[in-house]
Symmetry: C2
Subunit: 351 residues, 2 copies
């Protein structure tokens, strides 16, 4: 599939869906849309993901004459426009409307992980119908979810869950890197995607933060029961944080629903407050370890066995190493930056 | 309003919506439907709620001739049939269909707190339209909910949240009794209903276990912000339990979203395992206190200040008192059975 990724004004670091897809998709990325940086390239901002040109709008990528009697699907053979931003609350930004409209008019599908479902937008639904393409809302949960039975621990796979000190601290990245490293080491490992970016990358999964709250744990359990006897390891993408004022319910449901054998704590070096909720200080790392383990324990005894620290804001490797040492001491286990230093230092502890 | 309450085969103790409404509604209860106990009366089973006859079916309550040309609304002037059972998963039991059908054909509204929405059932929707009545699904969340802002502590009211060792341990009852006792003591107190029974009793509220999981905390916060400057005390109905394999996400969201000043721990004397999840043992009471307080703390420092113990299964008051003493020691605070002994012993600690 050939895709374009919309990331206006948020690229790279506040467009985590865009970044996740750029890092892990098997699709071909034709361009990133960012009206703040037209003419530049992805790797000028983020070195270690696949490169693509940055353009101002969808109009640059499709045939401008399509409205004047020529074939409507004569664009640069782009199959889909993907919304690469996940704002708090999941709302649609009206400044994106023209790009979505242009994509649909050119016959491109539009893939979105927003809480706002494009399929329920009258204009987009009509355009998709008129132009033989579709809107795909990956955050729309499937039918038939229900409450957890408390039996995820019955599968034969070992279950490893990433947990975090906050949102956007690398839980998806750590999950993907560990699963790939386990596969490369000869293990049969799979990812259990729980959020829009993971679902876009893996092509399946339940968007846990969007399910009925009573079914939070059940929607994770369902996926583990479905895949857990087919693999030796399941790497479950965690969400939110157990101390988050808004999202702790999702985190709690995933922690109990997945009944994990082991936890990997993810954190961004140097952060001190909850992003977007700056009046809430992050507790000490030791406290997170204790909180995650003691919260899980009545349902499933588990342990933080390793740490994944995002050190991208630290320029020197020496500083990153110092920061990692401190983090490893706090969690009393091995730690790495899975992007900067790879997963070798923690893989043995995790599998 | 004159209502009938459906509680087939579950009355009284597995029909907690029926019991809650019988205890606290201002409506007139014409009858309870329970095909296991026709001809008996509510107070033969539960002494301390409003009495009503028990009948076998809705057909006994409405004019049997209504289908043969007579006025379709000639029933015993019943305004609504209320579904008084909340099964795990919230499914509709097909054995109830005939009663719902009969009610709608007689022009009665049907009020339900099930996850299964009666309004989306084609037969019921058609019958309601034909007979000028309506189905009311109180578990259908309102539009416009969103994520928590983490500001529930800014309201002027003191916020008291009931938390529990399990589901069905008296959180609604304790909330209602404490709010009424506070009012009787001259305080301006209100209830924040978070579940179907509370919403049926109070006539408003967000069904937290049914909202999008990302909005769990936000849906509680919204209610507290709406009412929190109009009253001196808000009594928030808690849900589930922080150790529940299926529902802990809902509990966690309410705990962080409500940012409570004080917690009241509810428990049923003598229970040792999670209801419906019997492989999970209840932790010691001391552990619950620690777990609730430490979970809340990064968002809002709070304390379990009192306990509410359901001692209905203990015949003698002496046994109940002994059980209460043990519970009070475990929580290191005053405890009562709010139904058996009233709220006097804990009210001072709570407000």
């Amino acid at each position: 599939m050939r895709i374009a990724i919309l990331a206006h004004e948020k690229f790279p670091h506040r467009a985590k869906t865009a970044l996740g897809v750029l890092r892990y998709t098997d699709d071909e990325v034709v361009a990133v849309l960012d009206r703040n940086n037209p003419g530049r390239r992805v790797t000028e901002f983020v070195p270690d993901v696949r490169d693509a040109p940055i353009v101002e709008s969808m109009a640059e990528l499709v045939d401008h004459d399509h409205g004047r009697g020529r074939d409507q699907d004569r664009n640069q053979d782009i199959d889909a426009l993907l919304i690469g931003i996940s704002p708090i609350g999941g709302a649609f930004d009206e400044s994106w409307r023209e790009d979505v409209r242009t994509a649909l008019e050119a016959g491109c599908d539009v893939i979105s992980g927003l809480h706002y479902f494009l399929g329920e937008d009258e204009e987009f639904a009509a355009l998709a119908a008129d132009h033989g393409c579709e809107t795909r809302d990956v955050r729309e949960p499937p039918e038939g979810l229900s409450v957890s039975q408390g039996i995820a621990d019955e599968v034969s796979a070992e279950v490893v869950l990433t947990v975090g000190t906050d949102c956007s601290v690398g839980k998806l990245t750590t999950t993907m890197e560990l699963a790939r490293a386990a596969q490369e080491a000869g293990h049969d490992a799979a990812v259990i995607p729980t959020g829009q970016t993971g679902i876009m990358i893996e092509g399946w999964g339940n968007p846990i933060d969007r399910v009925v709250s009573d079914f939070t744990a059940g929607a994770v359990e369902e996926m583990i029961l479905e895949r857990g006897d087919e693999h030796d390891y399941l790497f479950v993408e965690g969400q939110g944080s157990i101390v988050h004022p808004a999202y702790s319910g999702v985190t709690a449901g995933i922690l109990h629903g997945s009944m994990p054998d082991r936890l990997v704590l993810c954190h961004t070096a140097g952060t001190e407050v909850i992003h977007g909720y700056e009046s809430f200080a992050l507790p000490p790392i030791e406290r997170y370890v204790e909180q995650y383990e003691s919260f899980a324990e009545p349902v499933r005894e588990t342990e933080v066995v390793a740490g994944a620290l995002n050190t991208a804001d630290l320029e020197s490797d020496a500083d990153a190493r110092a920061s990692l040492d401190e983090f490893a001491t706090a969690i009393d286990g091995p730690a790495t930056d899975v992007i900067r230093f790879g997963t070798d230092e923690i893989l043995d502890a995790v599998i």
